[in-house]
């Protein structure tokens, strides 16, 4: 019993820090409908600032005021203003991508500003951290632990009081349901959400500062683990109850310490399972508690005030412009192949090959998220399954790489299908969290085993060899990568236009309606996951063969997050988008690696900016830019051909469609264009002005 207590008591302060973060998660979820995955990053920022200030000789209290009381709320306000205010009623992916971008960008920017050297633990704020104040059941209780517990309980109690006395919770919920309706009821929606973000960021900062001394040093990975634990605690509270969230956080911290205490030490299971415990809890809670289950979306009753969201498909173009685009694309592809083979120096050839391989992996996101609307944050782990399969097969059985790649794809498909089964009823954000916890579990518990990723030692994978022909050089491997990419891209392209693609499109549009027209959505979901995992597995195997040595670090959860952000920003709804994203990602990485090392965080800045832009252009930044350019081209073509507008004849009809037209002169059905040219012009006349920010 006393041994149990001696494990349990040190768990309480951990649990308190989880709970503090969890309360912040609940707050922002209520106020913006966003599961803020960047909370760990925000906590990290405050912890680092506190550390830096103390290092520079500030008094602890002043450093605390700056790092938590000032910086926390200011950061929250900025995030609300720039990003999350605009995504309240947006689809889950649009809510998620900015948070993912921040999760990557914030720590990197912080490191750029404050340096990355090893950070000693900052001092505790309230009491002398090392002094033992009293003993509880034989366990020494330090000032650190007392401070954390007292601050947390007080902070949660204050928040619960504010909620109850001000009706704040109710107002926040109203703001998420319909900001306009809330304004009509006399509540300033923007002020409510700004307040919630400032408050929750204050809590994040507090959690960061309190938790930092419990780790050996301040590092950003610890804070991601912290975030997942906080999410689990928030789900315990059903993402709404504060006392339950507090209890959940503390319970989680205690359980984690107890498990750590009793597991045999020195094995992968014990070193992996203790940190992974919150992920397991989160996954189990998501599936069993169903707080976040896909509910029939209520939507904003005043949504019709918004201009229609930009269409996902590129509009039909005038013949001249369409032909021009096609010729230009063909020219680009040709130039790409020629440059890759003849002109570029060695490491750039490698980079371009890497781009092709990334493109294969990214196509898995196109299928799952772009076509089927399912958000997965474990695509890198699934790619890892393919990579480790090919590596293990080559090492143990001498299996040829190309055959191993196929087997890797199949293995990944099986894993993907298995992941999708417990998640069948999860939608949007819950699915994202479930897959994220799967990724973290794979990183911590599965991949370190010798039979999987073989820990830090990793695996060696040969380059492919077909018959007598070896594809050992980078230049030869380019062709392998190109061939695989063409096959996969062709398959995805075929699927898009075929029965399955249409059913996936229906599924993405409305699960309810898809089921009601006879689509077996359970089967479809498993197929989508398996297919996407297969593609990711093939891509991962190809990546392994390209790199020749791989380790679990090449496939850790952060890559999954990065991949989703990159593909979403460059264009998630088309095959071309995935290819452009793959090449852009590889080239960007290579460019950055030529910079001096202290500027490598530039990538993270790019991510932050991409997240910003994504909120404005959820159809993808590149598709938006393309559309903009083609709009101009079309205007020019129309000007050159002269007076084409007269061709767009207006014909009145008498069918029911005409009578049902929602407003004369606005409905596309009112006009019956005669030619493609005329159709393009009608479209041009009716589209919204290109400069206008869309979907706001």
């Amino acid at each position: 019993m006393s041994q149990l207590l001696s494990y349990a008591i040190p768990g309480v302060p951990f649990g308190c820090a989880y709970a503090l973060m969890a309360v912040g998660v609940v707050l922002t979820y209520k106020a913006s409908g966003v599961l803020n995955l960047a909370f760990g990053a925000q906590a990290y920022v405050s912890a680092v600032v506190l550390y830096a200030a103390v290092r520079d000789g500030w008094p602890t209290w002043a450093a605390f005021v700056v790092a938590v009381v000032v910086l926390g709320p200011v950061l929250g306000l900025v995030l609300d203003r720039l990003l999350f205010r605009h995504t309240r009623t947006a689809p889950p992916l649009v809510k998620l991508v900015p948070a993912l971008g921040l999760m990557i960008a914030l720590p990197a920017v912080t490191d750029m500003a404050f340096g990355t050297g090893p950070r000693r633990v900052p001092p505790s704020v309230l009491l002398d951290p090392t002094r033992v104040y009293f003993r509880l059941a034989g366990t020494a209780v330090s000032g650190e632990e007392i401070a954390t517990t007292v601050v947390t309980v007080a902070a949660v109690a204050v928040l619960a009081l504010v909620f109850r006395s001000q009706g704040l919770g109710l107002r926040m919920r109203a703001v998420v349901e319909s900001p306009r309706m809330t304004e009509l009821a006399g509540i300033r929606a923007d002020r409510v959400s700004a307040f919630a973000w400032m408050l929750s960021s204050l809590y994040a900062g507090l959690a960061g500062v309190l938790l930092a001394p419990m780790y050996a040093q301040v590092s950003s990975t610890d804070f991601t683990a912290l975030l997942v634990a906080a999410l689990a605690a928030a789900v315990v509270g059903g993402l709404s109850s504060l006392p339950l969230t507090l209890a959940g956080g503390i319970g989680l911290g205690v359980a984690q310490q107890i498990i750590g205490g009793y597991l045999p030490s020195g094995t992968i299971l014990s070193s992996g399972l203790r940190p992974a415990f919150p992920f397991v809890v989160l996954a189990v809670l998501l599936v069993t508690r169903r707080t976040l289950e896909a509910s029939p979306a209520l939507g904003d009753p005043l949504a019709s005030c918004d201009p229609p969201r930009p269409s996902l498909r590129p509009p039909a173009r005038m013949t001249e412009v369409a032909l021009g685009t096609r010729a230009f694309t063909a020219f680009l592809v040709f130039m790409f192949v020629v440059t890759a083979l003849l002109l570029v120096p060695g490491n750039w050839q490698f980079t371009l090959t890497q781009g092709l391989v990334f493109a294969v992996v990214f196509l898995s996101i196109t299928v799952l998220t772009g076509m089927a609307g399912q958000i997965s944050l474990c695509q890198a782990s699934v790619a890892g399954v393919g990579a480790f399969t090919v590596g293990q097969l080559a090492a143990h059985f001498g299996t040829p790489v190309l055959l191993g790649t196929l087997v890797g794809g199949v293995a990944a498909a099986i894993v993907g299908a298995l992941v999708s089964v417990p998640a069948l009823r999860l939608g949007g954000g819950a699915l994202a969290l479930f897959t994220l916890s799967f990724a973290l579990l794979a990183d911590n518990v599965v991949f370190p085993y010798p039979w999987a990723g073989n820990g830090a030692n990793g695996l060696t994978v040969p380059r492919p060899q077909v018959g007598g022909i070896s594809f050992g050089t980078d230049a030869a491997f380019f062709w392998v990568a190109l061939a695989v990419l063409l096959i996969v891209a062709g398959a995805v392209w075929l699927l898009r236009g075929g029965t399955l693609g249409q059913e996936l499109g229906a599924f993405r549009g409305s699960e309810t309606a898809a089921a009601s027209i006879g689509i077996d959505i359970v089967r479809l979901r498993v197929i989508a996951f398996a297919l996407s995992a297969c593609i990711a597995g093939v891509g991962g195997a190809l990546y392994a063969s390209l790199q020749q040595t791989i380790s679990p670090n090449d496939f850790n959860y952060q890559f999954s997050l990065v991949f989703v952000v990159v593909v979403a920003v460059v264009g998630i709804h088309s095959v071309a988008g995935a290819i452009e994203a793959g090449l852009a990602y590889a080239v960007l990485q290579q460019l950055v690696s030529t910079l001096p090392s202290r500027y490598t965080s530039v990538v993270a800045l790019v991510f932050g900016l991409a997240a910003l832009s994504y909120v404005r252009h959820p159809e993808g930044v590149v598709p938006y830019a393309k559309r903009w350019v083609l709009d101009r081209a079309e205007q020019l073509a129309r000007y050159l051909s002269g007076g084409g507008e007269r061709e767009a004849g207006r014909t009145g009809g008498s069918g029911p469609a005409e009578r049902l037209a929602p407003g004369a002169g606005q409905s596309p059905g009112e006009r019956r264009p005669r030619s493609r040219l005329a159709a393009a012009i009608v479209w041009l006349a009716e589209r919204q002005p290109p400069g206008e920010p869309a979907g706001r």
Partner: protein, 257 residues
């Protein structure tokens, strides 16, 4: 044997009985109106029939076959289709694609290797049928415009066309006229009439606009607080004092006498 038979359907949400032992028959080819004040349980009934909700008790059969344990998509394949009060459209797809995807699901049979691999394109008879459906529902002109660019009235028609594409024996219409003006509603009535004449589809219509109900159905069922309070020929039910009270309240009834 009726086409649709509901026997003793009950559904509770917490303390509220959304449906309290409701029994209802719809004959093949019949058009039945289902009316009642807001919260009477009409949409819940639809959800139970199509399997989006599981009733707490009671049985549902379609043409003598028990369907209440089947998942939604199986019920759809057996010949039930519905529209939604709050539009449930496939964003990003055109009306033609809405119709085609439903046609393909119900088309059955894989004949070519492409169809076996689920990458088949619509067959020409399917494309012809889609054209036909789009013209019946008056959507031909907007067939290739993404639905998010169309208005509410078109949205209702797209839902109707999509429902019809599964060649249903029973069509459930959930407040199809809400949000439409008089002319638009008249157009919708015309479309429903044409479809019933051509395909002999049975219709169960939930609707607040009694004029529209009267134009479509011959039999009326009234729900109030989850109970069936009337069921019979249209005019008879509309004259029923209990129904008038449920709809209009006691005061009106007092004055009316």
């Amino acid at each position: 044997m009726a086409l649709l038979e509901l026997r003793g359907i009950s559904k509770r949400f917490g303390g509220i009985a959304a449906l309290d032992s409701v029994s209802l028959d719809v004959e093949a080819g019949e058009a039945v109106g289902l009316v009642g004040p807001n919260g009477a349980g009409k949409t819940t009934l639809f959800n139970c029939v199509l399997g989006l909700l599981r009733p707490d008790s009671g049985t549902i059969s379609l043409a003598g076959v028990r369907i209440d344990t089947l998942p939604t998509f199986r019920r759809s394949r057996l010949g039930i289709a519905r529209t939604f009060q709050r539009l449930e459209l496939f964003t990003g797809m055109t009306p033609r694609e809405h119709v085609l995807v439903a046609l393909r699901v119900h088309g059955g049979g894989h004949r070519t290797w492409r169809e076996r691999l689920a990458v088949g394109r619509p067959r020409s008879p399917e494309r012809r049928e889609a054209d036909q459906l789009l013209s019946i529902t008056g959507l031909s002109d907007v067939a290739d415009v993404p639905v998010e660019a169309l208005g509410l009235a078109y949205g209702r028609l797209v839902e109707l066309a999509r429902a019809l594409a599964s060649r249903p024996r029973l069509l459930l219409l959930d407040e199809p006229s809400s949000g439409l003006d008089e002319a638009e509603t008249a157009g919708l009535v015309e479309v429903i009439g044409r479809v019933r004449a051509e395909q002999g589809t049975a219709v169960l219509l939930v609707e607040h606009d009694l004029e529209m109900v009267a134009a479509v159905v011959s039999r009326l069922v009234v729900l109030n607080f989850g109970r069936k309070i009337a069921d019979g020929p249209l005019l008879e039910v509309m004259a029923d004092p209990g129904v008038r009270q449920a709809y209009l309240g006691r005061a009106y009834l007092g004055q009316g006498r």
